[in-house]
C-alpha cells in the first residue's frame, strides 16, 4: 500500500509542471461575463443583470431532445413561469452557419412566434464564443446564475434523458428545482447533472 501511495504521490506532483487546460466556470465560481447580440439586434451583457437570477438555455430547434421540450410546450411554460417571477431567461444558439439549429435573427424571431416562446432574449452565437465560454455541450444545456453573479446550476433540464414527449410529465425539472431553492434562500440540492441531448453544433 505504501508503494502505491508513493507512486500516486510522485505522479501527482508531475501535475504541477503541466500547463492547465482552459476551464469553464464551476459551481460557486463567478459566472464569466459576456456580451452578445440578441435576435433583435440588441446587445446583451450578463453583468447588466446583476441582482437578478439569469437562466442560460442552449437550444437547437432541429435536435430531438430540444424538440421534446418545445413540442410538449414545456420550455415555453418554463420561460413564461420564470420570467414572470423576474428571472432573466437567455436562450442561446451556438449552431454554426450551415449546421443544424443555425438561425438568422429574422428566422429566429418568426420561430419564437410560431412556437410561442417568450425568453427574455435569444442570443445569436454562430461562432460559438459564448458556448465555449460556458463549455455548453448539448442542447438543451442549462445554466443558472444567481443575483450575485455566481454560477449555481450547470446541467440537464430534467432527470429524464430521452426524446419522448411523454417523459416531460413526471420528470424532475432541475432548473425549476434550483430556482425554487435558491429563491427561498436554500442551497441548491442538485447543482450539476449530466446535460443530456445533441452535441452543440459548433463551427468545425
Amino acid at each position: 500500500m505504501k508503494k502505491r501511495l508513493a507512486s500516486a504521490a510522485m505522479a501527482a506532483m508531475a501535475v504541477l509542471i503541466v500547463l492547465s487546460v482552459a476551464r469553464a466556470a464551476r459551481i460557486g465560481d463567478r459566472a464569466p461575463d459576456f456580451t452578445a447580440t440578441d435576435s433583435n439586434g440588441k446587445t446583451q451583457k450578463l453583468s447588466d443583470y446583476q441582482g437578478k437570477f439569469v437562466v442560460l438555455e442552449w437550444t437547437n430547434r432541429g435536435c430531438p431532445y430540444t424538440l421534446k421540450q418545445y413540442n410538449s410546450g414545456n420550455m415555453q411554460r418554463l420561460q413564461h413561469e420564470w420570467t414572470s417571477k423576474g428571472v432573466v431567461w437567455l436562450t442561446v444558439i451556438s449552431s454554426a452557419p450551415g449546421k443544424q439549429g443555425y438561425a438568422t435573427a429574422p428566422e429566429e424571431n418568426s420561430y419564437l412566434k410560431q412556437v410561442s416562446a417568450t425568453p427574455t432574449a435569444v442570443l445569436l452565437d454562430p461562432d460559438g464564443t459564448l458556448g465555449h465560454l460556458y463549455d455548453a455541450k448539448t442542447t438543451p444545456h442549462m445554466f443558472i446564475i444567481n443575483p450575485q453573479g455566481v454560477l449555481i446550476y450547470n446541467g440537464a433540464i430534467d432527470d429524464k434523458p430521452t426524446t419522448d414527449v411523454a417523459d416531460v410529465n413526471g420528470a424532475k425539472n432541475y432548473v425549476s428545482q434550483a430556482l425554487d431553492e435558491a429563491m427561498s434562500g436554500k442551497p441548491v440540492s442538485i447543482a450539476t447533472s449530466r446535460p443530456y441531448g445533441c452535441s452543440v453544433k459548433y463551427p468545425n
Binding site: 501511495l5 500516486a8 504521490a9 501535475v15 430531438p64 448539448t138 430521452t162 426524446t163 450539476t192 452535441s199
Partner: protein, 282 residues
C-alpha cells in the same frame, strides 16, 4: 460462457429477427449457439450503422444517450446485463462522446431458472430505443423477436455467421485488469493522475469513464512512461463538485485490450501528507 466454446452445433436459434425501418441504423436480434442442457443462452442486438453514424456506449460521454433495452421474456427466464464492447472516442473539439461505428453487438445472457424445464421453444422479445447520430441525431426504436429452440431444429443459414459475431465480440470485451497490475489514482489540481504498473511495457493508454461528470471528456489525456509503467493525467470535469472515492472505467491500451479498473482516488491533501518525504527529496 463455457457452452460457447462447444464446437459441436447442438442447437441453434430459429426464426428471422425483425428489423426496424431504415434510420441509418439497422438492428437485429440474434442468438448464439447453445447446448441443449445449458441454462444460459447468449443473445444480442446487432447494430449495423451507416458510414459515419454511431450509437453510444453505456456512458455516452458529453452528448447522446446509450441504447435502452427492455427484454420481454417468458416466466422462468431473466436477462443479465449487457456486456458493452470497448467503445471509441467520437466527435471533436469540446464535445467528445463514447460509442460505436460500423457494426456492434450488444450481447446479454438469457438465464433459465435452474429448477425450470426447458420449453420446446422460447419466445423472446425486446424493445430497444436508441439514438443514432452523425452530424445530427435521430431517435430510433424497434420491437424484435426471436424464438430460441431448446433442442434440435434445422440450422438457419445465419447461425454460423451469428456465432462468429458472438465469438469476435467476446474476444474484444473488456476484462478485469490483471491481478498483478498496480493501479492507483490521485486527484490534484483538478486532474486525476492514474498510475499503472502493468506487467508488460505499454506505449499508450486512454481512459474511458463509466460515470458521467467525472472527467473532462474532451480534455487531453497525457501519457507519461515511468520506470515501472506509466501514468495518465486526465483533467477533471468542471461539473465535478465533490471528490469521488473511486474512478471507475476502462483503461484501453489498444484494440482488444480494454481493462476494467476502479482505483480508489487519493485526494491531494492526503498525498501531500504521505508524499512529504518524496517532495523534500526532489
Amino acid at each position: 460462457m463455457g457452452f460457447a466454446a462447444c464446437a459441436i452445433l447442438l442447437a441453434v436459434p430459429v426464426g428471422i429477427a425483425q428489423s426496424a425501418p431504415p434510420s441509418h441504423a439497422k438492428v437485429e436480434l440474434i442468438a448464439d449457439e447453445v447446448a441443449p442442457s445449458a441454462t444460459t443462452t447468449w443473445v444480442g442486438l446487432l447494430f449495423h450503422l451507416d458510414p459515419g453514424w454511431h450509437i453510444y456506449w453505456q456512458n455516452a460521454g458529453d452528448s447522446g444517450t446509450p441504447p435502452k433495452v427492455d427484454w420481454r421474456l417468458p416466466a422462468a427466464y431473466r436477462a443479465g446485463a449487457i456486456r458493452w464492447p470497448q467503445p471509441v472516442r467520437l466527435g471533436g473539439g469540446s464535445v467528445i462522446d463514447y460509442g460505436y461505428e460500423d457494426q456492434v453487438l450488444l450481447m446479454a445472457p438469457i438465464e433459465r431458472a435452474a429448477n425450470s424445464l426447458a420449453a420446446a421453444a422460447v419466445p423472446i422479445a425486446v424493445d430497444v430505443k436508441y439514438l443514432v447520430c452523425r452530424e445530427v441525431c435521430i431517435p430510433g426504436k424497434a420491437h424484435l423477436t426471436l424464438s430460441l429452440p431448446a433442442t434440435g431444429g434445422d440450422p438457419p443459414a445465419q447461425a454460423p455467421q451469428w456465432h462468429a459475431i458472438f465469438q469476435n465480440t467476446r474476444a474484444q470485451l473488456p476484462t478485469p485488469a490483471p491481478a498483478g497490475w498496480k493501479i492507483s489514482a490521485a486527484s490534484e489540481k483538478r486532474y486525476f493522475v492514474l498510475s499503472v504498473q502493468p506487467e508488460t511495457p505499454v506505449k499508450s493508454a486512454t481512459f474511458f469513464p463509466l460515470e458521467s461528470g467525472q472527467i473532462e471528456n474532451s480534455g487531453p489525456q497525457t501519457f507519461t512512461s515511468t520506470k515501472n509503467g506509466f501514468y495518465l493525467m486526465i483533467p477533471e470535469s468542471d461539473q465535478l463538485v465533490k471528490p469521488i472515492g473511486t474512478l471507475r472505467g476502462l483503461l484501453v491500451l489498444g484494440p482488444g485490450r480494454a481493462y476494467e479498473i476502479a482505483p480508489h482516488v487519493l485526494q491531494a491533501s492526503r498525498i501531500i501528507q504521505n508524499g512529504s518525504e518524496l517532495r523534500r527529496q526532489q
